[in-house]
Structures are given as structure tokens and as C-alpha cells.
């Protein structure tokens, strides 16, 4: 079982990203759960989302305390406390930032791999708005595999209709531009 935690801000699509990934896994015939941590915060506030992925039916319903992967969708969040909390030793951190993955090595001490991508920039370029949830999926697929790019693209077509094309471009572009730092230990 693979557990992913997504960090974003209300209205920016972290929950959607978690759902799209789960849908992709499901569409490929495997099992997934996507859920979020909801609160009374409004648009703009930090939010958490989660995806669980498995080859078998997923029965577990408790929260995720020790994710295998942490994904940070929002550049501004990168300064926030608690992002690295619980990340499994040897896990993966995927960040939306223009910086180099290595720059975060001290922050994400548990991470075996750290990936960065300037998803905001890609989103602005491809979609015309800084909504980074589709772009970041490109980075995730690049680093983790998990699902095929075609599966994602098919979902975009159904979900975003007129905007599908642009999102496909964003995810592809992010896939290309993701940089990975592999600590090479605990793997």
C-alpha cells in the first residue's frame, strides 16, 4: 500500500489532485482511496488531501499518519511548518518550487527522494491560472510511476472538457521538467 499526502490551499485543487490520481489507479483496474481533511477554513487556507493506493481492496479507514509520499502544491506553503511530519523514512517529497530538489534535503530529512517542479509557472503558462494540481500530477508520475500518463489524460478529458487539452499540456510539461534528487540510501 502506498500512501500519499497532498498539501495545498483551499480552492487550488489539492483534493482534486488526490481524486484524479485515485481515479486513475481505479481506471487501471487497481484500488485506491482519496480523501481530504476538511475544516471550517475558507478559500485560501491550507488543506490536506490523501490518496491510498493498493493492488488489493483497501479496507483501512483510519487517517494517514506516515505517508510514503508528500506532495506540496503551493509554493508559499513550502515555508509552512509540518510539511515533513510523518514522512516515512525513505519516502518521497514532491514540491512545487523553482528551486532545486537538493535545496530541500535538510528540510525533508526522512525523504529518500526529493523532486521539484515549477508547477506554478507551468500552470500559468499552460492554463493561464496558477492552479497547479494537474501539473503536479506530472511530477508525481515522473517520480513514482503509479499510473500511466494516458490514464491521467483520459480523465482530464472527461473531467475538464474544454480545458482538457491545456491540462494535458501542463501535465506533460511538468513530467518533462521535474527534477529529482535521490539520496540513494534506504531505498
Amino acid at each position: 500500500m502506498l500512501e500519499i499526502r497532498w498539501h495545498g490551499r483551499g480552492g487550488q485543487g489539492a483534493v482534486t489532485a488526490a481524486e484524479i490520481l485515485a481515479t486513475a489507479v481505479i481506471n487501471e483496474g487497481r484500488y485506491a482511496q482519496a480523501f481530504a481533511s476538511f475544516g471550517p477554513e475558507r478559500r485560501g487556507a491550507p488543506v490536506l488531501a490523501f490518496t491510498r493506493i493498493s493492488e488489493k481492496e483497501i479496507l483501512l479507514r483510519s487517517q494517514i499518519y506516515e505517508p510514503d509520499v508528500v506532495v506540496i502544491l503551493d509554493q508559499n506553503l513550502v515555508t509552512m511548518e509540518g510539511l515533513e511530519q510523518g514522512l516515512k523514512a525513505g519516502g518521497t517529497a514532491i514540491l512545487n518550487t523553482a528551486f532545486e530538489p537538493k535545496d530541500f534535503a535538510e528540510r525533508f530529512t526522512a525523504a529518500g527522494r526529493i523532486a521539484t517542479v515549477d508547477a506554478t509557472n507551468i500552470a500559468i503558462k499552460e492554463l493561464g491560472t496558477p492552479i497547479t494540481n494537474t501539473a503536479i500530477l506530472g511530477a508525481l508520475v515522473r517520480v513514482m510511476g503509479i499510473v500511466k500518463m494516458e490514464t491521467l489524460e483520459a480523465i482530464f478529458k472527461e473531467r475538464f472538457k474544454a480545458y482538457a487539452e491545456k491540462n494535458v499540456n501542463a501535465v506533460r510539461s511538468a513530467y518533462q521538467m521535474t527534477k529529482v534528487f535521490d539520496r540513494g540510501e534506504n531505498k
Partner: protein, 310 residues
């Protein structure tokens, strides 16, 4: 009636709504409450209905309120206020307290027009001395933008979405002030934080009268109406300038416009900047314009200004 607030100098500096609340960036309901509490001051008890304002200002272990504040449920705000008013009266009469307070009941449009209407009507009829403020963002925002009976004609919400068989909300916005006035209360008014002095003067008058008063405040909501977070105040102004939100007050049954609009803006200007009206066709826009014209005729606003041809 007094006009206590004419310019920024008249506005008390004290804040009774602390920062750090969790309302959306750009929420004009927060602006409205700041303005209202400045008028009401420290000796005020606020009763809140469930809704955005309540949920986002009172997340244990913290609260944004600097005046005594209570929330019980969604539908009973005016009833809780009735109880507080009566108790304060009895305790004062029986010399068990010397405190006298302003009582402000605060509900969103859902908590006022719909599920809280009966409690409100009862409190108005019983003539408690309190003021009821409805902050109207024209839908159930706290639960994710569902239709209320304050949602305007044609607007899209998640429970009246446009679609093949639908072009948004089918019925008219309920006329809360008319309903309140039908209860023969001494004071009722419309307002919006985009016109802060108008709003603050009305709150003052509402507090000054004996018996129940109602102030109906339009508070544009970036999240539910789908506009940029910086635009709420401007959109409130446009609501007034188009004639869709006439600013008036009804004192002992006599209606008086408080902000004249000599030349109205066409409603299109108001509609086109909001996502909730994105689906409107020309004919729908014309329908909404008709409604604005009717309101203008009713309240004595000016004609629509000539539009410069592009």
C-alpha cells in the same frame, strides 16, 4: 433620526472582531461585521446563527469575538436573542444585574430567510428590544453555495445549477425587509459595507429605537459569487448603482431612500463579473434589468445611464 457617521473621523477605532478568523480572503461579511461592531461597541451581546461567520470565527480554542458571543443552532438565532433580552430585562428589574446591553442577532440569508424565519417572525411580533442583522451573501455559503430563498433570480448555485432543463434559480429573491415591515416593527433597512457610513448610521438608528429592528446587509461573497477576492466592495457598490440593491430604510412604516442613484448602471455590468451569472443569456439579462427597473421605480432611483457604444 441621528446621522452619527459622516466621515472616517466619526468611526470608532476599537475593533471588536479580531483578525485571525478563518473567513475567506476578501469576504465582505467580515467587513460588515467590523463596521457593525464599531457602532454597537463593547456592551453588546452577539448571537450568531450557524453559517460562514459563525464557523469561521469560533474555532476552539480560539475566537475572533471581543464582545460576548453565543451560537446555539442554525434556525433559532432570534429565539436565543429573545431569551437573552427577556432575561436581561427580568434580571435588571429584579435588581440582579446593573448591566444593560445591545443585543445583536446575526444570521446569514439561509439562517434568516429560510430556516430561521419563524423564530425571527416570532421575535418581531413579541416586540423584543434587539436588532437583527442579516448578512446576505445570497446562498448557503458555509455548506458550499446552495440556493437559499435569498438567491436572486437566475443565479447559479450548486442546488440550482444551470443545465439543459434549467437556467439557475427559477424563483424571485424573497423580500425580507417587506416581510419584516409587515410585522410593524419600528425600524428596518437595507445596507451594504460598500457604503460604510450609510450602514453604520442605520445600525445606530436600529439600536436607538425601542423594540425590534432589522438591517438587511448585502455582503458580496467572492467564493460563492465567483469573483476575484479584491472585488467584493466594488460589487456591492455596483449592486447599489444598478438599482438591484436600493439602500433605504423604513421608519415606522415610512420608506425613505438613503442613497440616491441619479444614473443607474446597466445590470449587465454587475452580472458579467460574477461566475454565478456566467450562464445567462441575453434574454435573462434583460429579465434581470426589468427587475432592477421595477425596484428603481418603486424606490425612486434614477434612470439607467446611456451606455457609450463601444
Amino acid at each position: 433620526m441621528s446621522t452619527a457617521f459622516r466621515n472616517i473621523k466619526d468611526v470608532p477605532k476599537e475593533e471588536y472582531l479580531a483578525p485571525g478568523h478563518r473567513l475567506c480572503a476578501g469576504c465582505t461579511a467580515a467587513t460588515a461585521i467590523r463596521q457593525i461592531l464599531k457602532v454597537a461597541g463593547r456592551d453588546t451581546v452577539v448571537v450568531s446563527a450557524t453559517g460562514c461567520v459563525e464557523v469561521a470565527t469560533s474555532y476552539f480554542p480560539q475566537s475572533a469575538w471581543k464582545v460576548p458571543w453565543v451560537h446555539v443552532a442554525f434556525e433559532n438565532t432570534a429565539a436565543v436573542a429573545s431569551g437573552i433580552e427577556s432575561a436581561m430585562k427580568a434580571l435588571y428589574r429584579k435588581k440582579k444585574t446593573t448591566e444593560r446591553v445591545n443585543i445583536i442577532a446575526l444570521g446569514g440569508d439561509g439562517g434568516t430567510f429560510d430556516i430561521g424565519l419563524q423564530a425571527l417572525s416570532g421575535a418581531l411580533e413579541r416586540s423584543h428590544d434587539f436588532i437583527y442583522i442579516c448578512y446576505d451573501n445570497e446562498a448557503y455559503m458555509n455548506t458550499g453555495v446552495q440556493r437559499s430563498s435569498a438567491t436572486p433570480y437566475c443565479a447559479a448555485t450548486t442546488t440550482c445549477p444551470p443545465g439543459k432543463m434549467s437556467s439557475g434559480k427559477r424563483t424571485e429573491k424573497k423580500d425580507l425587509v417587506a416581510i419584516a415591515v409587515a410585522h410593524n416593527i419600528p425600524y428596518a433597512a437595507t445596507a451594504t459595507p460598500s457604503y460604510p457610513f450609510d450602514l453604520m448610521n442605520k445600525v445606530k438608528r436600529a439600536l436607538d429605537v425601542e423594540g425590534p429592528a432589522l438591517v438587511h446587509v448585502l455582503t458580496p461573497c467572492p467564493t460563492g459569487w465567483r469573483f476575484d477576492t479584491d472585488s467584493g466592495i466594488d460589487i456591492g457598490k455596483l449592486a447599489v448603482l444598478t438599482g438591484l440593491w436600493p439602500l433605504y430604510e423604513v421608519v415606522d412604516g415610512v420608506t425613505k431612500l438613503t442613497v440616491q442613484v441619479p444614473k443607474r448602471e446597466p445590470v449587465k455590468k454587475y452580472l458579467e463579473i460574477q461566475g454565478r451569472f456566467k450562464h445567462l443569456k441575453e434574454a435573462d439579462v434583460a429579465e434581470v434589468q426589468k427587475r432592477a427597473d421595477m425596484l428603481a421605480a418603486k424606490f425612486g432611483l434614477g434612470p439607467v445611464r446611456e451606455q457609450v457604444q463601444a
